[in-house]
């Protein structure tokens, strides 16, 4: 990865060049806005101002990897440094930025979930800008992902879709699983329903897309309802050991079970105190 960034920097001559370009861009758009806006201030749609605000944010926080117009950056080796964002839609932005995956801390196998850097308004501005680049999935409406009051039959059906499409990567209890090359499918416990919906819709990173045409919006909602139901369900049998399956169970059998029983065995065979001090039994 160091190699990759080094090459990129070399291409751009100086790391400061990007900053200069961004500042220039900001100045120009800002200047243009001041000149043009008085005339259209009242008539210009709120959407356009949102898009423009989004573009400003984009140029500062996203363009270094995704290109100034979201066209993506390709490394010298021909691999994607930052993928093009034309057509990813607002849903993808809301997911990636809204879960803190974007902006990435550093290039790596997988964007890590971390603290969210933008507030909700900024995210929606960014989303509006990216959505303006090309048609893509919009942010889902609350009706699409809200699972309150959903009936049990839908939860059951969601479970069936869940086991067919999701458990292979995310594990039966949504605890997450491993992917090749240091990547992983994250735990889905306590992920907001909207984000789960957006992930299915847009296929972030290595996750495949589950388009509305194939996995219908109502089916997506069923899946979310199932995830929520197992997340809220009690541990009927006691502490769940991380819900990781037989590996953690085996570890518990050895450490706790054999550990405790061997300790008892040592106690049973140990010689208790003798009444005469210093004498050896």
């Amino acid at each position: 990865m160091r190699l990759l960034t080094a090459r990129l920097s070399a291409k751009r001559r100086s790391p400061l060049a990007g900053l200069v370009v961004v500042l220039l861009g900001l100045l120009l758009t800002g200047g243009a806005y001041t000149f043009l806006s008085p005339a259209s201030a009242q008539t210009g749609s709120a959407d356009q101002s949102k898009i423009d605000a989004g573009r400003r944010l984009f140029l500062v926080g996203c363009a270094s990897c995704h290109g100034e117009n979201g066209e993506g950056v390709v490394t010298k080796r021909g691999t994607q440094y930052g993928p093009p964002l034309v057509g990813v839609g607002a849903a993808a932005v809301d997911f990636q930025v809204g879960t803190g995956r974007m902006p990435m801390a550093r290039p790596g196998a997988q964007a890590q979930q971390k603290e969210v850097l933008y507030n909700q308004e900024e995210i929606s501005q960014l989303a509006a800008y990216v959505a303006s680049l090309g048609p893509g999935p919009a942010e889902p409406t609350k009706a699409q992902y809200d699972v309150n009051g959903i009936d049990n039959a839908s939860v059951v059906r969601g479970g069936e879709f869940w086991r067919t499409n999701c458990t292979a990567c995310h594990n039966f209890a949504a605890a997450g699983g491993a992917l090749p090359g240091g990547k992983y499918a994250p735990s889905l416990r306590h992920v907001p329903p909207k984000k789960i919906y957006e992930a299915m819709l847009t296929g972030p990173q290595q996750m495949p897309v589950f388009s509305d045409g194939v996995l219908k919006p109502s089916e997506k909602r069923d899946v979310i309802a199932y995830i929520k139901s197992i997340q809220d369900s009690p541990n009927y049998g006691g502490y769940n050991l991380g819900s990781l399956g037989p590996v953690s169970e085996g570890l518990a059998a050895w450490v706790i079970g054999i550990g405790a029983l061997v300790a008892f065995a040592i106690w049973i065979a140990s010689h208790s105190v003798r009444s005469r001090k210093g004498a050896k039994a």
């Binding site: 292979a168 090749p180 388009s211 009690p234 009927y236 006691g238 009444s275």
Partner: protein, 359 residues
């Protein structure tokens, strides 16, 4: 003999002398000092300590009874079933029953052990060992008895009887083997085929809806099944159900993925196996048969969660990592007159794990 054993060690070692002589002969550099004298425990000499231990043990047993009673109470108090009692996110019935019964058992055990450790005599006893073997006379007698018996039977003198008996017993093995024949049918070529046929629609698993290419986006994964699994006959009964359905599913399950056409490098004879970047592969791993659907849409790699075989779906399902020996079989697909994705034919090779006559 009975005097030798059960002899408190402190009172002497009956054969120590013999042992010592023997050891010395074997070049043992240090003579056996013999068992150390018994050291009494506080409970052996101090009546207070003894009383205290007694109370301690009785307390353990008493607490055990309390736990047993609590078990019975928990059994009736905590609900299971549709509205189970939940305490702190845990199933109250299971935890309470386990805790009370576990402690009831554990306390009995600890009490008994403490009793042995503190109050039962801890004077070590010595028991002598004897060679595992019987005496030479006994062994000879056994062998000669056996030989006498064999001689009496005349098995050596009458080879006709002997050989026919051996033959009869050997033939008895045949029925034993033959009755196992009906354990199951012979494989025939069942493993080589699936229910896929020319023109059968690809459907989304669970929902059973057929799929149009335009509904499939780049980076999409569909866990699919053949349409026949959702077909109903004239009476409205499923065409395939029960065991037959599971058996068919175990071979016919598929995954449908869409990649950018330029990323795909098909073999020359597979150029027309996909529909504008949509490819269909068997979902059954060629290693030991787990269903695989861990698809990485950016790398086009498919990982098996059981043993981590990794296949490259952009490169004809080639194995790029892990223990699988063969590429993932690809199902040639096209679109039918109504624009739905359909199979061009069955798989061109057996799906699932390898077997001897697979070829």
């Amino acid at each position: 003999m009975s005097e030798d054993q059960n002899f408190p060690a402190a009172m002497g070692h009956p054969t120590a002398h013999d042992v010592e002589v023997e050891k010395a002969a074997a070049g043992d550099p240090v003579a056996d000092p013999g068992l150390a004298a018994h050291e009494p425990r506080p409970t052996d000499v101090d009546p207070h300590a003894e009383k205290r231990a007694e109370r301690q043990i009785a307390t353990l047993f008493g607490l055990s009874s309390v736990c047993a009673v609590l078990f019975v109470i928990s059994y009736f108090v905590f609900k299971v079933g549709a509205n189970p009692t939940i305490i702190a996110g845990l199933g109250a019935s299971n935890v309470a029953l386990g805790l009370t019964l576990g402690l009831a058992l554990l306390l009995i055990g600890m009490g008994a052990i403490q009793w042995a450790r503190k109050l039962m005599s801890d004077v070590e006893m010595v028991e002598m060992r004897h060679p595992a073997a019987s005496s030479a006379e006994d062994r000879e007698a056994a062998i000669s008895s056996f030989q006498a018996g064999v001689k009496d039977s005349g098995i050596a003198r009458r080879p006709l009887i002997r050989n026919s008996l051996i033959g009869a017993l050997a033939f008895l093995g045949l029925p034993l083997i033959v009755v196992l024949r009906d354990l199951g049918p012979l494989p025939g070529n069942k493993l080589a085929h699936t229910v896929w046929r020319k023109g059968m629609r690809l459907t989304n698993d669970i929902a059973g809806t057929p799929i149009k290419p335009e509904e499939v986006e780049i980076g999409q994964l569909i866990n699919g099944e053949p349409a026949i699994f959702y077909a109903k006959d004239a009476q409205g009964k499923p065409v395939i159900e029960g065991t037959e359905l599971l058996q068919a599913k175990a071979k016919a399950a598929i995954i449908i993925v869409r990649m950018k056409p330029e990323d795909i490098t098909p073999l020359p004879n597979r150029r027309n196996w996909g529909v504008s970047g949509i490819l269909c592969y068997s979902k059954i791993c060629t290693h030991v048969g787990c269903p695989i659907s861990l698809w990485e849409q950016q790398t086009h790699h498919l990982l098996c969660p059981c043993h981590q075989s990794t296949f490259d779906l952009a490169d004809n399902g080639k194995v790029i990592f892990g223990p699988a020996g063969r590429a993932l079989p690809q199902l040639p697909i096209t679109v039918d007159s109504e624009g739905y994705l359909v199979a061009q034919s069955d798989f061109h090779e057996p799906v699932g794990p390898s077997y001897w006559e697979r070829g």
